[in-house]
């Protein structure tokens, strides 16, 4: 297989297969979770409970408990929905795009990125669900045989597209993620000391054998499922962007929206992957698997995407001016660049387009603390981007008499904190009970990429 030394050594320490297995499985075999794990799990559970309470209040009392009004009908719920969906793009982008372009360095990170995707999409899916108000009528969104005609859904509505896109994305990502874990569960089934573990992971491993034909079917099916999920990375956020861009609201009604949203999603997703892998590597001492080179590669990608983001922001401004529409000009120049929402707009520009440019400097890319801080800035910046898009356009549109101010209530903030709790708790459970790094995939690339000699030998051929 094609092998290159461009990326250098992927797995450090010239490990044996057995070392790979045992080192990755150490956290699962540990008799009890570390203290930091318990504390974080407790905090996340409290946050989750706050969210559950806030959702209860929302459903039992109504959407009136939120700060929405006639003009600003979408607030934090939609901001957070788009934010979480964006973060949820990294898993698939990582696993699949990098699989297709044969980037071997993905093997150390893809499992964690996919896990993150699942939890982020779950958090995202909550928001449209409770935003419906009458959640018990939620099944109306599905085209089922009914007694009203039958009157079907509006299949031209982006909201319907959203439902299909997100449920498909969640299903496809979950199946792909689970499938990748089957061989690793089989390792635990065969090697765990405790009988209960053998039993549980035995059930989860579906009777995996690891014989030649089994691997052939496994790889073929995984590649096909990955290949099919790859267009979803592009389509899901394009469809989310159409929730906005098909509406004739200044600042939303632009053709740049689908690519702009997709690239933003990948940007925030990679940002979150960086945050998460740095934490994971630090806490579990996975420095040999997730090397500085891995983080460097992600940082480089982020630099490039950040440039695209900056270009998109400038394009929006240019088109607002070039369109000759006074409403567009007002939205961008008087209500974003200047005006009441200046802070949000310039936070977005600073965090997304400017700060990641620091990654041009090798010194900063090599300084893990700096990389971590910048990744947090990206997460914040992408939240502000969605805030700017959702709130500014709605609060001041065509008629000044209809202008309104939007402020979130404690309930909305509570739901957001709740989804953060859900995400963190999910990630913590993943840390504790699932092999965090795809063991069989790492083994697959181990021999060719763990020593300098392997590269030299390959070049001889």
């Amino acid at each position: 297989m094609y092998n290159t030394r461009v990326r250098g050594i992927l797995i450090k320490g010239n490990k044996s297969y057995d070392q790979v297995t045992s080192e990755i499985l150490t956290p699962i075999y540990a008799p009890s979770a570390p203290t930091w794990w318990k504390i974080s799990a407790f905090v996340a559970t409290v946050a989750l409970l706050l969210g559950v309470w806030a959702i209860y209040v929302t459903i039992s009392t109504g959407i009136g408990t939120w700060g929405l009004n006639n003009n600003v009908a979408w607030g934090w719920a939609i901001i957070n929905f788009v934010w979480w969906i964006g973060i949820g793009h990294a898993g698939t982008a990582f696993s699949i795009f990098l699989l297709i372009v044969r980037q071997k360095w993905r093997t150390s990170i893809n499992r964690a990125a996919e896990a993150m995707t699942i939890f982020a999409v779950m958090a995202a899916g909550l928001f449209p669900l409770i935003h419906m108000g009458r959640i018990w009528d939620g099944f109306f969104i599905f085209p089922y045989w009914n007694t009203r005609g039958p009157l079907w859904d509006n299949f031209n509505s982006p909201l319907f597209w959203d439902v299909t896109a997100i449920s498909t994305y969640l299903t496809a990502s979950f199946l792909f993620w689970y499938m990748g874990m089957i061989p690793d569960f089989a390792i635990i089934r065969e090697s765990a000391a405790s009988k209960i573990r053998r039993k549980i992971y035995g059930i989860l491993s579906f009777g995996w054998l690891g014989n030649a034909k089994g691997w052939l079917r496994f790889e073929t099916a995984a590649l096909l499922m990955g290949g099919m999920a790859a267009p979803l990375v592009v389509s899901v956020h394009s469809i989310v962007s159409m929730d906005f861009s098909v509406a004739v609201i200044p600042g939303w009604h632009t053709t740049i929206f689908p690519p702009y949203f997709v690239i933003g999603a990948i940007f925030s997703g990679f940002g979150m992957v960086l945050t998460l892998t740095i934490v994971m590597r630090k806490l579990y001492k996975f420095n040999d698997f997730i090397t500085d080179g891995h983080l460097d590669a992600v940082a480089r990608i982020l630099t490039f995407i950040s440039l695209i983001m900056g270009t998109a922001y400038m394009t929006e401004l240019f088109v607002a001016w070039y369109s000759g529409s006074e409403y567009e000009m007002f939205t961008f120049m008087k209500n974003r660049v200047t005006g009441d929402y200046t802070f949000a707009y310039w936070s977005m520009i600073t965090c997304n387009a400017l700060i990641p440019q620091l990654f041009w400097f090798k010194k900063i890319r090599k300084n893990i603390t700096a990389v971590f801080i910048i990744s947090i800035f990206i997460n914040i910046g992408m939240w502000f981007e969605r805030y700017v898009i959702v709130v500014t356009s709605l609060s001041k549109d065509f008629l000044p008499s209809g202008w309104a101010v939007y402020k979130p209530t404690f309930i909305e903030i509570g739901i957001y904190i709740g989804t953060l709790g859900l995400f963190v708790l999910g990630v913590l459970l993943f840390f504790r009970y699932v092999p965090m790094i795809a063991i069989s995939e790492v083994k697959h690339v181990l021999k060719e990429t763990s020593t300098d000699e392997a590269f030299t030998e390959n070049e001889k051929h």
């Binding site: 009157l151 509006n154 597209w161 579906f206 054998l209 690891g210 034909k213 052939l216 069989s440 697959h444």
Partner: protein, 177 residues
């Protein structure tokens, strides 16, 4: 049905590939190979193929066709209702067609994989050697009835010569293909 297999254990995939060549050169048949990760050359040497790509294509194509049939029937035939002055049978169906093609394709591919591999949650299996999930590689050669003592010795030697750590016999009947 229990069949006895001769199992050669290796700790490197190169040894396995080498052994397969040697065994096949001597006119014996390699029944199966167990490994902790996929080895592409093994598939070539054992001439293994899978039809999953074709089935996936069929699933995707039928997903598109069925979705279109439903959209057309519900929007044009069953309850023709104009939205926003658009034609009843509109181009924007493409979006739902696209997404549902992927949904149907993915789910059915996964199910087909499980079905072909006869895998299900909680299925109990016994491996010829449990270490093959971790760091060992195993070659299985079926011990046929007409094997004479010299056949067994040849196979044993071939395995040992190509670097087998141990050679043993196993009665484990994992599902047969």
């Amino acid at each position: 049905m229990n069949r006895t297999n001769i199992v050669g254990i290796y700790d490197d995939h190169e040894g396995v590939l080498n052994a397969i060549d040697k065994i096949q050169e001597n006119g014996y048949k390699v029944k199966d190979v167990f490994s902790p990760f996929p080895i592409h050359d093994v598939w070539e040497k054992l001439e293994l193929h899978t039809l999953i790509p074709f089935t996936t294509f069929l699933y995707g194509a039928s997903g598109t066709a069925m979705t279109f049939a439903f959209l057309y029937w519900s929007s044009v035939v069953s309850y023709p209702l104009k939205f926003g002055g658009k034609p009843l049978n509109t181009l924007s169906f493409v979006i739902i067609l696209f997404v549902l093609t992927i949904l149907v394709g993915t789910i059915l591919t996964f199910i087909t994989y499980l079905w072909r591999e006869k895998m299900w949650p909680g299925k109990k299996v016994e491996l010829p050697d449990p270490r093959t999930t971790n760091d060992k590689f195993a070659i299985l050669i079926e011990k046929s009835k007409d094997f004479t003592g010299s056949d067994l010795e040849t196979i044993n030697n071939l395995l040992k010569d190509t670097g087998a750590l141990e050679v043993k016999e196993s009665n484990v009947s994992y599902h047969e293909k």
